[in-house]
Structure formats: structure tokens, C-alpha cells
Point group: C2
Chain length 340, copies 2
């Protein structure tokens, strides 16, 4: 609208001049300072000036003064993984509720936490959520030394007591129980990478559940995938070659399960007739593949929510270990059935 307003953005000084008061008055009115004594008429003049000039506080100046940015960072390893999409959504929702922006970025083996922080510099975020495996212990200590609160999301780390995770062991337990209840006794596990924290917990939960149900835990019934569809495809072949072929498989993630189903088709193994498949996580999409996947739905949004909630109340030296207690359930579709 205001053509010619090129060049300089409106500052407090502009608004103050327009309203005929001091800058500090504007600032206090806008921040809702309750100790401010001001006539209604003046307050109105201030608000009018703010609106007419379209004033918006300068983030850098405010941050410099208050040492707060109103911003949280979230680092994830890979945008293509739908698991993180859900976590981000949950996190953004709470952040917005708290008038705070969530800024997401990705880091991985090459471009790790360190280089990300070098770019970010100091004082660009008030806290950092770290989802996934990109952070080393040293990097985390560096954050603590800088006085920046951080929180691991969906992973734990030895020696660090700052994380929020899902109950992956219980998820594995639910999956196994579902298979056991169908009558399976030869239950295999298509596990995620041993470097992955969630994969470890799911594998542990799988073994614990088998024992709990009085079943043996032969290591030949576990194969590894890198959490990709290709990985699942290859790993399934491995399982099919085992001396005793399982009748069901608990797969650590969705993508691998899709690869696994492909392998079964390729080998002419009917699913679920000759092999039941159940996987961790759920997406609308799996309803539409064949056979529709039975899954364990995880409270990923809740995980993101809790991440932000915990982080924003977290001092640089506090500690927290939380397991999100959101609903978790087996969504039974077509890929699981009683053994033949």
C-alpha cells in the first residue's frame, strides 16, 4: 500500500513519533506490561499508530536485548522419512500454541550437528531438539557448555539423561503378542540397523516378548535391514533361506516391510498365507498396498509434542528421561493371519 516506504522498516521510534510518546511506552503497551500506568486515550493512540504503520518488532534487536529468540530448533536426519514428518507436525503444533516458532533443519553423517551450529551461530535458537543419530557425545557436551538446552527425541544415548522416546519395546511386544495370538510360534524379526537406537529397542522388545510367551529366540530368525525398502527386500531373502522357515515376521519399520512383501511375492510365498507380516508405524498408504499391512501405530505426534513441551521447560543442566505414554495399538489389516 504505502508506496515509497522503500528502504527502511518501521521501528519503535517511528511508532513513538507518530503516537507522540516515548519508545518505551510502545514497547510496554505491546508487551502487556502490567506495571505500566497509562491513560486509555494514550494507549489507544499507541495501538492506532502500531496498526497504521504496520509495525512489527525487529527480531534481532529483541533477541539481542532479551537473550531469548522465541525459537526452537529441530534437527532431523532425513526429511524423506515419514516418521520425522509426524514428529515435526506434533512439535510445530505445540510450538505454535506457545507463540514460538519451530525451525527444522537436517543434519547427517557429512553435515553433522557441528557444522549446523557453526552456521547457526550463537543465540539463534533457545533450544534444540535432536531426532535421530546425528549427534555425538562431544557435540552435545559442547551445547551444554554453550548454555543451550537440548533434548534427544526418539533416541537415547549412553551417559546422557536427556531424552524423550516412544516405548519401542512395548510396540515390539504388541506385535509379537498379535502374532502369538494368531497361533504363530516361529516368529522372525527383520531388525533395523544395529546403530539405530530405535532398532535396538525394538529388537530387545521382540526377544523379551518371545521369552515371555515361552518361545525360543534363535538368532537365525533375525535379519538386518537399513530401514529402507531395498534393505527389507534383501533381508527377507535371508530369512527365507533359514533352515527353519518362520511363519511370521515382525518388521522394524514400514519401508522395510514393503520391501519384504516384495521379496515374498518374488519367491512365491503367499502373505499372509505362508508368512504373516507386521511392522512398526502406520501410514494411510499401507492400506492401499497388497496385502494391506498390519501395523503397530505409534504416537509419533505425541512424541513431537512432548519434545517441545519438555525442552521449553528445560534448563541447560536439567535432566529428563521420558517415555511417551500416548496410545499405541495394533492395526490389523490383511498381512497377518493364523499360520497354515
Amino acid at each position: 500500500m504505502s508506496a515509497g516506504s522503500e528502504g527502511r522498516r518501521t521501528t519503535l521510534a517511528d511508532v513513538a513519533a507518530r503516537a507522540g510518546v516515548d519508545r518505551s511506552v510502545i514497547s510496554r503497551v505491546l508487551s502487556g506490561d502490567s506495571r505500566l500506568l497509562i491513560r486509555d486515550e494514550t494507549r489507544q493512540r499507541v495501538l492506532d499508530a502500531v496498526r497504521e504503520l504496520g509495525y512489527r518488532p525487529n527480531a534481532a534487536a529483541r533477541t539481542l536485548r532479551t537473550q531469548r529468540t522465541g525459537t526452537l530448533g529441530l534437527l532431523i536426519p532425513d526429511y524423506a522419512n515419514p516418521v520425522y514428518a509426524e514428529i515435526i507436525k506434533g512439535a510445530e503444533t505445540v510450538a505454535a500454541e506457545r507463540d514460538c516458532v519451530l525451525l527444522t533443519g537436517s543434519a547427517d553423517a557429512d553435515r553433522g550437528l557441528g557444522s549446523y551450529l557453526d552456521l547457526l551461530g550463537q543465540g539463534r535458537v533457545d533450544g534444540l531438539l535432536l531426532a535421530g543419530e546425528m549427534a555425538s557425545k562431544e557435540a552435545l557436551d559442547g551445547l551444554t557448555a554453550d548454555g543451550l538446552p537440548w533434548l534427544l527425541v526418539n533416541r537415547t544415548m549412553r551417559g546422557e539423561a536427556r531424552h524423550v522416546v516412544l516405548d519401542d519395546e512395548r510396540a515390539a511386544g504388541l506385535a509379537v503378542r498379535h502374532l502369538v495370538e494368531l497361533g504363530h510360534t516361529e516368529i522372525a524379526h527383520l531388525a533395523g540397523p544395529s546403530s539405530s537406537n530405535t532398532a535396538q529397542r525394538r529388537a530387545r522388545g521382540y526377544r523379551a516378548a518371545l521369552r515371555e510367551h515361552g518361545l525360543e529366540v534363535p538368532s537365525s530368525l533375525t535379519a538386518r535391514t537399513d530401514y529402507s525398502a531395498d534393505g527389507g527386500y534383501r533381508a527377507m531373502f535371508q530369512l527365507l533361506d533359514a533352515q527353519t522357515r518362520p511363519t511370521a515376521v515382525f518388521v522394524a519399520n514400514l519401508a522395510s516391510a514393503i520391501g519384504a512383501l516384495h521379496a515374498l511375492r518374488t519367491q512365491g510365498v503367499d502373505a499372509p498365507g505362508a508368512m504373516s507380516v507386521i511392522a512398526v508405524h502406520d501410514l494411510p498408504l499401507v492400506e492401499h498396498i497388497s496385502p494391506a499391512l498390519t501395523t503397530v501405530r505409534m504416537p509419533l505426534r505425541e512424541l513431537g509434542r512432548r519434545g517441545v513441551e519438555l525442552l521449553s521447560d528445560l534448563g541447560p543442566n536439567d535432566t529428563v528421561k521420558e517415555v511417551v505414554t500416548g496410545p499405541m495399538d495394533v492395526v490389523v489389516r490383511e498381512s497377518t493371519a493364523p499360520p497354515r
Copy 2:
């Protein structure tokens, strides 16, 4: 390491004191000011002090002074859509090359561009990439008035000449040509939502290609999906009910194609035997579904790359309309074949 360094972060003043020089010297050394005259010995003292104290410039202070943040923002409608994952990856890569951080956030119908900017305040990013349909014309004008450069990514907008897009019409053309070359003449289109810019361009490309190949363009051969698998599922049923059943369908996106394949299975229509299916975009996953999808692979990363490149050289009043020229090809898999 330095226990007790609690409380205050190191500032230029600390480093200056340690090196025994003025703050300005530190600043100039670090910024590589070529006009600075300094003895090697002094320079070394400065660098040592910087390292020993682990100094990192305060982003807010620097931004306040220079009016630059070293940061670009990217707004997307939905993290769950793998299309955006690819765009983000491309964008982050270039941003990193240019020593600049890309901060991604999501906005949609409810939480639109406006509320996002209210949270961000002024001066938190040097420019904004807007992927998807969340921005209104007024909001864009607001950005321009604020002096913030912005660029639409993967969409155009009437009356605004600031976008970078893919050649969706050509993608549609390639898909249709592939089907025509297989011998199809009854080619349907499973189109995206009419509100979507890409959907419009793909539909236009589809019709143009049909005409180009001398085929008719009956409107009964187009059905609409909302770009979801469910939407594709329902839309495919519509197509199957048409008076003349097509022998091939060009689907506007992957998720819908997966739903469409499901619908075909449900109805006992063999794909590709009785119905060929080709979709826009490619993912490792589609290799593993049955039948493996034939797709048109789009240069999404390149789109993200160009977005950042263009934006960082863009003044608030410049204009740019670019069609990314990256490679685009039909990946032939199992879901397309000659008509019976």
C-alpha cells in the same frame, strides 16, 4: 571443558581482552577484511584467542548491525509429502554451499503465511521460499512491502512473476507419449485437485499431448483426486464406471497412483494387462509395490537448488519466472504395457 564458564557466553570483548587488541580488530580478522593492516604475530594472537575461548559471533547482534541474517526460510504445506522432502534436500544443499542456513517450517490453510510471519517477526530471514498453496496474494504483497524477497517454488500465481517451477506440462507429455507408443488410444487422467497449481499444469499437459497425438480429449476420461491414496482409490472407481473404459491412466501423483492400483485390484482389473498406470514423481518405494509403478521422474532436488540460488540473488522488486531444466524421464517398470 571450561567448567564454571556458566552464565555468559564469550563475546568479542572477551576475545579482545585476551588477545590484547581492540574488538574491531577481532571482527575484521574474522571477517577477512582485506583492508585491514595487521602484523602476522598479532593476527596469530587473535586467532589463538578465538580458538581458546571457543568464540562464536552472536547472531542477533550481527544481524542487528548488518541487517542480514544469513538465513533463508522455506515454507511448505506438509512434511508428510515426499515431494517436499526432495525439494528441501536440494535447497539445503545449496544453502550450505553458500554458508547460509535454510530454516524450514510448515504452514497450511489454518496456520497460513500470515501467522507464520507474525511469529517470525521482522528480520529473521533474508528471504522466503514458498512451496505450495498456502500464500495469498495479499500476504505476498505484504512481504514485498516489508522488503523481504520471496519466491514461489513449484507453483505459479496469477499476477505475480516470481516463481520457479518444473515443467509439469512436459512431464504429462512424456507420460502420454509413453502410453501412446505402447499403443494406447483411450488414455484417462487421474488429476490432482483443481486448486493445485501443479495439478492444473499436468492436466493441461495431458490434454495438449492427447491432441498432439491426434487423440480426442473426452472429459469423461478425467477424474479428480486430492493427491492422497484414498483419493486415488475413489477416483479410479469413477474412471472404471465411465461408458468407455480407458486402457491406460496417467495419474498426477504417486500416492494417488497407489490408491488407483488398489482400486484396480479390488475390481479385478489386471494392471498392466487391462489397465496401464503411469504416475508423476518417483520414489525408491514404488519399485517394491505390485505392479512396480512406471513413473515420470522429476528433478525435484534441482528445483530446490534453483529456488535458493534464485532467491539469494533476488531483490525485493525483481521478477523471475523460471522453469527448471533438470533431467526428466520416464522410468519404465511393470505398471505399463501395450493394451490387450
